[in-house]
């Protein structure tokens, strides 16, 4: 008899605790659900905030980084003397490695017509150091921008670069609009 009573008490505690915990989980879930969104988020760099500190190259969990330079062609001046391509104050304007900003020769310079050149980024070589971006933003149109490339990004729960970004330029953006490329901005500006 006494035994039965004890086991009943144990069952009672078990059942009531289960209901309490169930309600707690449901409550927490409901509270969070109200604020949740069906959209998924990915990380992206706001090019207007980016200060090209160079940490994107070193802080990403990927080696080489998932951050690459992107040329927003709409914004590009197609300059012969591209300040993202040539080092500041080079003696001779030739494409010798000592004259180039990019440490990995990831920028291809292609002649279009006199005096314009198209600049393409070879993403296999680009390490996301942002040196060319700095050159272009400081002296040119700022068409070179750093962007997180989603074919390489692992979409970590917390971006390792975002934590170290000194200008808070890396933020979560909706996965259906995963890029913040400056060109669009300029287009809107013109219209």
């Amino acid at each position: 008899m006494a035994d039965d009573k004890k086991f009943n008490r144990r069952d009672f505690i078990q059942n009531s605790m289960r209901i309490t915990l169930g309600l707690a989980v449901a409550g927490l879930g409901g509270l969070t659900l109200m604020r949740s969104t069906g959209r998924n988020y990915v990380w992206q760099i706001d090019p207007f905030k980016c200060t090209q500190c160079g940490r994107c190259a070193t802080s990403c969990v990927m080696t080489p980084s998932a951050v690459k330079c992107v040329n927003a062609y709409d914004l590009c001046g197609y300059c012969d003397l591209c300040t993202g391509y040539f080092k500041n104050g080079v003696k001779d304007l030739n494409t010798g490695a000592e004259n180039l900003v990019c440490p990995t020769s990831a920028i291809n310079r292609k002649f279009i017509e006199e005096p314009y050149f198209q600049f393409d980024i070879n993403e296999k070589l680009c390490i996301g150091c942002g040196k060319c971006v700095k050159g272009c933003t400081s002296f040119g149109n700022g068409s070179f921008i750093l962007q997180i490339r989603h074919d390489r990004c692992k979409n970590c729960n917390e971006c390792a670069i975002a934590r170290l970004c000194p200008s808070d330029a890396i933020k979560r953006v909706p996965a259906d609009k995963p890029y913040l490329i400056k060109g669009d901005f300029v287009k809107k500006d013109k219209s």
């Binding site: 949740s36 969104t37 069906g38 062609y73 104050g89 729960n157 917390e158 200008s167 890029y179």
Partner: protein
């Protein structure tokens, strides 16, 4: 030299004109050759649909694992299911998304009005907890890739004394409390940052991460599933849920015959032996007294913990980058001249005034003060509850898994000679 000078002059002129008119410095050229401007490529991220597929896979794995633990009772099936999860959630999904890290997303959603959790992360947080409430920690048995990678590398597990185990089982609550504190203040996601196995899943670990992961796996050869048992903050939640689970894996399918064959089968020391029935009235009185005293001590623990937590808020807040930078600038103003300090230089060029920066850092630090009270109070509560639990005598007649600690891995099942119909298998 002349060329060099012209370039500079040209640049200055262009920069100046650009600043004045607000136009592009070098307007896009009008091409005469019919050149069409290419547009930058934008490789798409993983499709939303695939994210929901992960949730479906999680539910299916949990359902099968629960069925294996409670109905099928097969270690082999559980093992293969965990290998599948290791491959899918570990090596294919590369450790992200995971239920353990989702704790932080839930926390951040509740505290940061600018952040909204994605539905998949929320479901990854909730579903294993609900399953644990009904079927025990089947998530740990077969769905968690971090558990699976350790589980496969258990070679010769040694039994640990109960006092060591009880003490170590306290660490996950501290880790959970810290993870919530740092996520709530928007400082850091420490669970993801110190995830020891994600480097293996991605085959891309930094040396330190690789070393930590290798240490865990090496320790795991002898002390089974070390991360799960002494760190996993999600395990602390699952433990609580599983203690009150409606159904749970049972070692014996019918009536236990006290053969003791299973008593050393659990590498996690999660099997509890039958209690001895010698208990005098005097002993019962002592226990009751102890229970009441420990119960009354809980508020004391909470207040003491909260006090210590609030006192350490300055230390805890150092992990926040903004607080850290502000402190650094106050303590070492000469660092403003250090051109190599990226953080300070970026702050100086951002145009934000130092007063604003200090004010913001103070707001964050105040959050840590409140958070410190809550964190410390929580730890105090856990200490109090653990002691209270120690003073409760629970009568057990049979060999049973500790519902909180048991991962439902099913290793003990094959040791039990009792068959489902109650007959005992012949032992050679």
């Amino acid at each position: 030299m002349r060329k060099y000078l012209t370039i500079i002059l040209f640049l200055i002129a262009v920069t100046y004109s650009g600043l004045v008119t607000g136009q592009q410095r070098f307007p896009k050229p009008e091409f005469s050759t019919g050149y069409v401007t290419p547009s930058p490529t934008t490789p798409e991220p993983r499709a939303n649909l695939l994210e929901y597929t992960d949730v479906v896979v999680l539910v299916i794995v949990l359902a099968i694992a629960s069925w294996i633990a409670i109905r099928k009772r097969s270690r082999r099936a559980m093992l293969w299911l965990s290998v599948f999860s290791l491959i899918y959630f570990g090596f294919y999904r590369e450790g992200c998304i995971c239920s353990i890290g989702a704790i932080q997303n839930v926390t951040l959603t509740l505290f940061d009005p600018l952040y909204a959790i994605s539905l998949t992360a929320l479901l990854f947080f909730l579903i294993p907890l609900i399953f644990a409430l009904f079927f025990g920690r089947t998530f740990c048995a077969a769905a968690c890739p971090l558990g699976a990678i350790q589980d496969l590398l258990i070679i010769t597990p040694f039994s640990t004394p109960v006092w060591i185990r009880k003490t170590l089982s306290f660490i996950p609550y501290i880790y959970l409390g810290l993870a919530v504190l740092y996520a709530a203040t928007g400082t850091d996601f420490i669970i993801c940052r110190y995830d020891p196995f994600v480097g293996f899943f991605r085959a891309n670990a930094s040396f330190n991460m690789f070393l930590i992961g290798a240490c865990f796996l090496g320790l795991g050869l002898f002390f089974a599933r070390p991360y799960c048992r002494i760190f996993c903050p999600y395990g602390a939640l699952l433990n609580l849920m599983s203690r009150f689970s409606k159904w749970h894996l049972a070692i014996t399918p019918a009536q236990c015959i006290q053969c003791k064959l299973c008593s050393t089968s659990c590498p996690f020391d999660a099997i509890e032996q039958p209690t001895e029935e010698v208990k005098s009235d005097e002993q019962e009185g002592v226990n009751l007294k102890r229970f009441i005293i420990f119960g009354l001590l809980i508020p004391v623990w909470i207040i003491a913990g909260g006090y210590i937590g609030s006192k350490s808020h300055v230390f805890l807040s150092k992990a926040n980058p903004q607080v850290h930078l502000t402190e650094l600038l106050i303590a070492h103003p000469e660092l403003k001249n250090d051109v190599n300090n990226i953080d300070i230089q970026t702050f100086l060029t951002s145009g934000k005034s130092f007063e604003v920066q200090v004010k913001e850092a103070e707001v964050i630090r105040h959050k840590f003060y409140i958070g410190g009270w809550i964190f410390g109070g929580f730890i105090g509560f856990i200490i109090g509850m653990m002691l209270l639990n120690q003073s409760v005598f629970r009568r057990r007649k049979d060999y049973q898994p500790n519902k909180g600690d048991c991962y439902s891995c099913g290793r003990c099942l094959k040791y039990c000679p009792v068959k489902k119909d109650g007959t005992v298998a012949e032992i050679d």
